[in-house]
Amino acid sequence: MRKGLILRGLLVALLVALVLRPELFTPLFAPFAPNGGPVIYQRTSLLSLSLSHLGLVAVASGLATVVAVSLAILVTRPAGAAFRPLSRTITNIGQTFPPVAVLALTVPVFGFGSGPTLVALFLYGLLPVFENAMTGFGTLPPRTMEAARGMGLTRWQQLWQVELPLAAPVILTGIRLSVVISLGTATIGSTVAAATLGEVIIAGLLTDNTAYVLQGGLIVGIFAVLLYDALVLVERALARRMGRVQQAA
C-alpha cells in the first residue's frame, strides 16, 4: 500500500515535469534526436496539448457512457428486450470500424479539427461501456430486486436507487476500458488537425525525430496508467462498500 503510494507520487511528479518543464529532460532525450536537431517539442505548449487531449477523451467517453448506459437500461426493461440484439450489433460495429476510417469518413462532414476525432472516440468507446452495463444490469441480486419491488419502489426509484448503484462498479470497469482506449486512440486525431498529444508524435514521425515520439508517447502512457489506476481505486471502493466481490476487469 505504502509502496504503491510512493510509486504513484513519483509518476505524478514525472508527468507534471514532462508537461510543464520538458526542457529538464533534454539530456535524456538528446540521444534520440537527429544530430543538431531540436530535442524538445516546442511548437505548441505541451500543457495545452495535454488539456485538449484529455478534454477530447473526457467529452467522448462521457457521451459514450451516457449513450451506452441509457441504451443498456432501455434494452434491459421488459419493453425494450426486443431491441437487445440490434443494440449489440450497433455497438459492435462501433468497435470494429477502425477509428482511422471513421476520421476519413467524417472529415468531409465536420471538417478538420476536433469533430471527427470526437466521433471516432465516441463510437470506439461505446462497446466496452455497453457490454459492462449489460452485465451489471443482468447480474443484480434477484432477492434485492424483489425486496425493492415488494416495498413499493416505483420503476424509476428501483432504477435510480437500486439498479444503477448496484451496477455502478461493473459499469465503471467498462468506462475505464473505454477511457484508456480513447487516450491512446486520440493521438491519431492529430492527423486531421485535432489538438492532441498525437501532434508531438506525428511531428516526430514526419521529421524522423525519435525524441519527439518518445516524449509524446511517454506523456500519453503515463496519463493512461494514472487514470487507469485511479478508476480501479474508485471501483474497488464502490465494490467494497457494497460487499460485492470485485469482478474480473
Binding site: 424483489e146 425486496a147 415488494g150 457494497m242
Partner: protein, 311 residues
C-alpha cells in the same frame, strides 16, 4: 384483514397455487406451512401483486387489491422476503428506514424508529446503524430484514420464512418478539414457514399447503388434534403429537378443586410444562396459582386424559 378467494397461479403446466381461499382476520397471525415447492411463496406474492394471479381475487381490508396501484398497495404491506434481500449498498439504518422514507417520514422520526427496532432485535444501534449488510452475520441480516418490514408500522405484513437462517435460540427469541410486537400493534400477519413447530408457535391459525392446494386451515390445537389428512398428520409428526398438543393447552383449562403439595404452577403455563413438572418432582398433582394465589390443582390423570382426547 386479508381475504383470499379461489386464488390460482398457473405456470405452464404446473399449478403453483390451486384455488386457495382463506381469510386472515385483523390482528391475527396466519402461518402458512408446507413442504418445499408447495406454493407458499407464490401465494404470498400474489397478495402484494409481485405475482399476478391467473384467477381469483384478494381483498385488503375490504378493498380489491387488483384495483390498487401496485406500488401503493405494497407500501401499505410490510414484506419480509425469503433470504432477507437487503440493499447491499445501503447502511443498516437506510435499509430499515427505506419504507418510512418512501412514505415521507421526517429524518428524526426515521432515525428514532431505526434505533427502536435495532434495540428490539438486540442489535446495539450505535454499533450496527452504520454497518453495511455484508458486515453482518446471516442471522443479523435476517433480523434487519424483518425490522425493515416492520419499520413503517404497517397493519398488514407478509413474511416469507423470516427466521429461516437463525439458530434455534435466537429463533425462539425472534418469534417471541414478533408475537409481542404483533399483539401490541394489532398487526395482521401472514407468515410462511416450512417448520410446523414454528407455525404452531406463531399462528393463531395454521394453513397447511401441499402441491398448491390448501389442505387445512384451522387453529393450531385443531390441526394437532384433528389433522385433516395423513399428510398434515405427517407434517406434525406422529410421535410428537401429544406433546405438541399439550404445549398448546393452558393449565387453566383443566384446573380442578382439591389438595396438592409442593411448588405451584401458574395457570397460564402449558400442560406440557405441568406434565414435566409433575414427572420431574414425582407428584400426582400440582397446586395451580393465578396472580400468586392458589386457585386449585392440576392432576397427572387429568393431563393424561386430555392428551388421550387429542389422539
Amino acid at each position: 384483514m386479508i381475504e383470499i378467494d379461489a386464488l390460482t397461479k398457473v405456470y405452464g403446466d404446473t399449478t403453483a397455487v390451486d384455488a386457495v381461499s382463506l381469510t386472515v382476520d385483523t390482528a391475527t397471525i396466519t402461518a402458512v406451512v408446507g413442504t418445499s415447492g408447495s406454493g407458499k411463496t407464490t401465494l404470498l406474492r400474489m397478495i402484494n401483486r409481485l405475482v399476478e394471479p391467473t384467477s381469483g381475487s384478494v381483498r385488503i381490508n375490504g378493498e380489491p387489491a387488483g384495483e390498487m396501484a401496485p406500488h401503493l398497495l405494497r407500501r401499505r404491506i410490510g414484506y419480509a422476503i425469503q433470504g432477507h434481500g437487503l440493499f447491499p449498498h445501503h447502511s443498516v439504518a437506510r435499509n430499515i428506514g427505506a419504507v418510512p422514507r418512501l412514505l415521507g417520514w421526517s429524518r428524526s422520526d426515521i432515525r428514532a424508529r431505526v434505533d427502536e427496532l435495532l434495540t428490539l432485535f438486540d442489535m446495539e444501534p450505535a454499533s450496527f446503524r452504520d454497518r453495511f449488510p455484508h458486515e453482518l452475520s446471516g442471522g443479523q441480516q435476517q433480523r434487519v430484514g424483518v425490522a425493515r418490514a416492520l419499520a413503517s408500522r404497517p397493519d398488514l405484513m407478509l413474511m416469507d420464512e423470516p427466521f429461516g437462517a437463525l439458530d434455534p435460540i435466537i429463533r425462539a427469541r425472534a418469534q417471541d418478539d414478533l408475537r409481542q410486537i404483533q399483539r401490541k400493534l394489532g398487526s395482521t400477519i401472514m407468515l410462511v414457514t416450512h417448520d410446523m413447530e414454528e407455525a404452531i408457535r406463531l399462528g393463531d391459525k395454521v394453513a397447511v399447503m401441499d402441491d398448491g392446494r390448501l389442505l387445512q386451515y384451522a387453529p393450531p390445537a385443531e390441526i394437532v388434534a384433528d389433522p385433516a389428512t395423513d399428510f398434515v398428520a405427517d407434517l406434525i409428526g406422529d410421535t410428537e403429537r401429544p406433546m405438541r398438543f399439550l404445549s398448546l393447552v393452558p393449565v387453566s383449562e383443566i384446573v380442578e378443586d382439591g389438595p396438592a403439595d409442593g411448588t405451584a404452577i401458574d395457570s397460564g403455563a402449558s400442560l406440557r410444562d405441568a406434565l414435566s413438572a409433575s414427572l420431574w418432582t414425582d407428584r400426582e398433582a400440582l397446586p395451580v396459582t393465578r396472580d400468586g394465589t392458589v386457585v386449585g390443582r392440576v392432576t397427572l390423570e387429568a393431563i393424561r386424559a386430555r392428551a388421550a382426547r387429542a389422539s
